[in-house]
């Protein structure tokens, strides 16, 4: 038990920190500084613990959690994402007059849920993690509680999210019925030995599970909520949930696919299914983004497309594919958080100043902001040698090595399409002017810190992070 507590230290710390967070809330009435500090402190502690337990192996708490390696990498990733978004969120929430301490509590809860997802070695833990994260997100997207946009997006996210949860649970039930267990380890053994008695239940169950998870990663047929929720939710919340949330969903998807793929009879079908979802997401996301006039909406569509690139790496099913996905998630974390934080700073009131027109001539009004946004856009396009380029390169490489040529071609075509709207925004910022006089965007305060970190990350991460050393998950 003590050994379990040590090897699962990051998750134990994070859960305790989120509960203590509610108490900090009680003892510092009227001030948010204490809660802000506690959030930063506990995230840093958790990341420290994750680094400390990186070498741990095996499972903890009667095979419920995987520890070390793969899971701790994701822990650090979630920690970084949460830190960046929290630092940016404080000044932005203050600007709009909604800085309630619950924001920090909910962030901590969401991170704890994500960590459960990454650490899961049992479908039950994965399910609980998904729900903790989703419930926090439902509330966070409605955080501007007297703003109609925000509350509507929250309702939409909630109803569709709960709908997807139904599929998730049903899928888990059918898989349980065919395999006889919910533990990843047992599922893997059964799949390896092709001992599944109820093949059709298994296949339908996996299909339903994939439906549920595709919703969480925002992939094609289940993306309908993405544009509206990402647009309506507070921009800093979108920054958090479109990056850390997506990473968390993939941290469940990767092991689940790795567990079910070895089953010979269903392998090709599952790979094909994921590949088709990936291809559709890439094309749909990028084509849909072209016609958008709202920057947040455009980024939301592009987020669907990026889910497609990431699913490509999952469909491959090799270690290189896994590493490429993890690398891409890291890269995506920096570019996307950065882009949304710029959008948050430009936004003077919730939901305003978000159209492409509002970005015209931004380079004259706010040269710094415009430069940052340009870097993020170039990186999202995949221009060498920014981190987004390396991410795409590794994914395509893994796909080619696994003979998924057609998927790679679709990916490249989709990337080419995406050049149009990413560069379109840069053109608007640098080469077009607005006729009417508009004041410069309000100062970002400490949100600028996030911008600096993300820009530096986007510029240098590609040269320092070696994707082949990233830990993979094996059973």
């Amino acid at each position: 038990m003590t050994g379990d507590l040590y090897s699962a230290l990051p998750i134990v710390l994070m859960s305790s920190a989120s509960i203590i967070g509610l108490l900090v809330d009680v003892f510092t009435p009227g001030r948010t500084k204490g809660m802000f500090g506690w959030t930063i402190f506990s995230l840093l502690m958790m990341m420290g613990a994750a680094v400390l337990t990186f070498g741990a192996e095996g499972t903890a708490f009667s095979n419920m959690l995987t520890v070390g390696g793969y899971a701790t990498y994701f822990d650090v990733l979630f920690g970084v994402g949460a830190l960046m978004s929290i630092v940016a969120a404080r000044p932005m929430l203050q600007r709009h007059g909604y800085e309630y301490k619950e924001y920090y509590s909910l962030t901590l809860f969401a991170v704890a849920g994500m960590m459960l997802m990454a650490h899961a070695n049992h479908l039950l833990i994965a399910f609980i993690g998904i729900e903790i994260m989703s419930i926090s997100f439902y509330v966070m997207s409605g955080f501007f509680r007297s703003n109609t946009f925000s509350v509507e997006s929250s309702l939409k996210y909630f109803l569709l999210g709960a709908f997807a949860t139904g599929f998730l649970v049903y899928g888990i039930a059918l898989i349980y019925g065919s395999v006889g267990s919910m533990s990843y380890t047992d599922m893997y053994t059964v799949a390896m030995e092709s001992e599944i008695t109820l093949k059709n239940l298994y296949w339908v169950g996996i299909g339903m599970l994939l439906v549920g998870l595709s919703f969480k990663v925002a992939a094609f047929p289940f993306h309908v909520w993405v544009p509206d929720v990402y647009t309506g939710a507070p921009t800093v919340v979108t920054a958090f949930m479109s990056t850390a949330g997506k990473a968390a969903a993939f941290s469940v998807l990767i092991p689940v696919v790795a567990v079910v793929l070895p089953e010979i009879e269903t392998m090709e079908r599952i790979q094909m299914l994921i590949a088709v979802i990936a291809a559709m997401s890439m094309l749909y996301g990028n084509i849909g983004a072209i016609s958008q006039t709202n920057v947040k909406r455009m980024l939301a569509y592009s987020s669907v497309a990026h889910a497609g690139y990431l699913l490509m790496g999952v469909a491959v099913g090799t270690d290189a594919g896994q590493q490429a996905v993890m690398y891409y998630l890291t890269a995506y974390m920096f570019m996307q958080v950065g882009a949304f934080v710029v959008a948050a700073i430009v936004e003077s009131k919730p939901g305003e100043d978000c159209t492409l027109e509002d970005y015209k001539g931004l380079s004259k009004r706010n040269p710094g902001l415009a430069a940052c946004m340009a870097v993020f856009m170039l990186s999202l396009t995949g221009i060498p040698f920014l981190v987004g380029f390396f991410g795409k390169y590794y994914i395509f490489k893994a796909a080619i090595e696994a003979d998924m040529i057609w998927l790679t071609i679709v990916g490249v075509v989709a990337s080419v399409i995406s050049v149009y709207f990413y560069l379109g925004l840069i053109v608007k910022m640098y080469f077009q002017d607005r006729e009417d006089e508009v004041p410069a965007a309000l100062p970002g305060g400490i949100a600028n810190l996030t911008l600096i970190v993300t820009v530096v990350g986007v510029l240098v991460l590609g040269f320092f992070l070696d994707y082949s050393v990233l830990p993979t998950i094996t059973f």
């Binding site: 859960s15 704890a112 833990i125 419930i135 955080f143 509680r145 059709n200």
Partner: protein, 194 residues
């Protein structure tokens, strides 16, 4: 004694109309549960819907009992039919909702309905077929309940598992409840401090 013997012969050994009493129970409860489910999704008045849903949950509890999951059957009534539905009814009353008004966008609604029914028909066929097809020959699991089934769903055996193997998820779910409490207070409270 004689009566018991007769009952045993009629109901258990040969069964009524060739069905065991378990089968009778199953068909009755299943039909009632499905009927209540249909009532839930078709009634225009949300209060009626909610009451049908409570009935539905109670019949489901009966089905759980027929599967020897006694603790779950009790929980189903206490938690779902009791706590959750009371909350739902409370909110319906609070918002003073009446019958659902006819939608203005009638065409859109029709399209949505058609899409809904066709999608679900496909789903039903798919899942039903899968369930039928996966009945493997010679697989006893499909036709008979496990031998230990009557000790499986007792509070004792569930408690023993819950607080040993599943201790960690049991603790983890408390985070979920806390997050839900904090979140719903934030959204529903009239006035917030700071």
């Amino acid at each position: 004694m004689l009566l018991d013997r007769i009952r045993f012969i009629v109901i258990v050994e040969t069964g009524l109309l060739g069905l065991t009493y378990h089968a009778w129970l199953f068909y009755l409860l299943a039909a009632l549960a499905i009927g209540a489910g249909v009532g839930t999704i078709t009634r225009k008045n949300p209060v009626t819907s909610a009451f049908f849903l409570i009935l539905h949950f109670i019949f489901l509890a009966g089905l759980y009992a027929s599967l020897h999951a006694h603790l779950l059957a009790v929980m189903q009534v206490l938690v779902y039919a009791g706590a959750i539905m009371v909350l739902v009814l409370f909110v319906i009353m609070l918002l003073n909702l009446g019958k659902e008004p006819e939608s203005q966008q009638s065409e859109q609604v029709v399209i949505r309905k058609i899409a809904g029914y066709s999608f679900s028909a496909v789903m039903l066929v798919m899942v039903g077929l899968a369930a039928l097809l996966s009945m493997d020959k010679g697989n006893t699991m499909m036709t008979t309940m496990a031998d230990n089934v009557d000790t499986l769903g007792t509070a004792e055996s569930i408690g023993a598992e819950m607080f040993t193997t599943y201790l960690f998820p049991f603790e983890a779910v408390s985070l979920l409840l806390l997050a839900a409490v904090a979140g719903s207070i934030l959204l529903a409270k009239k006035r917030l401090m700071n």
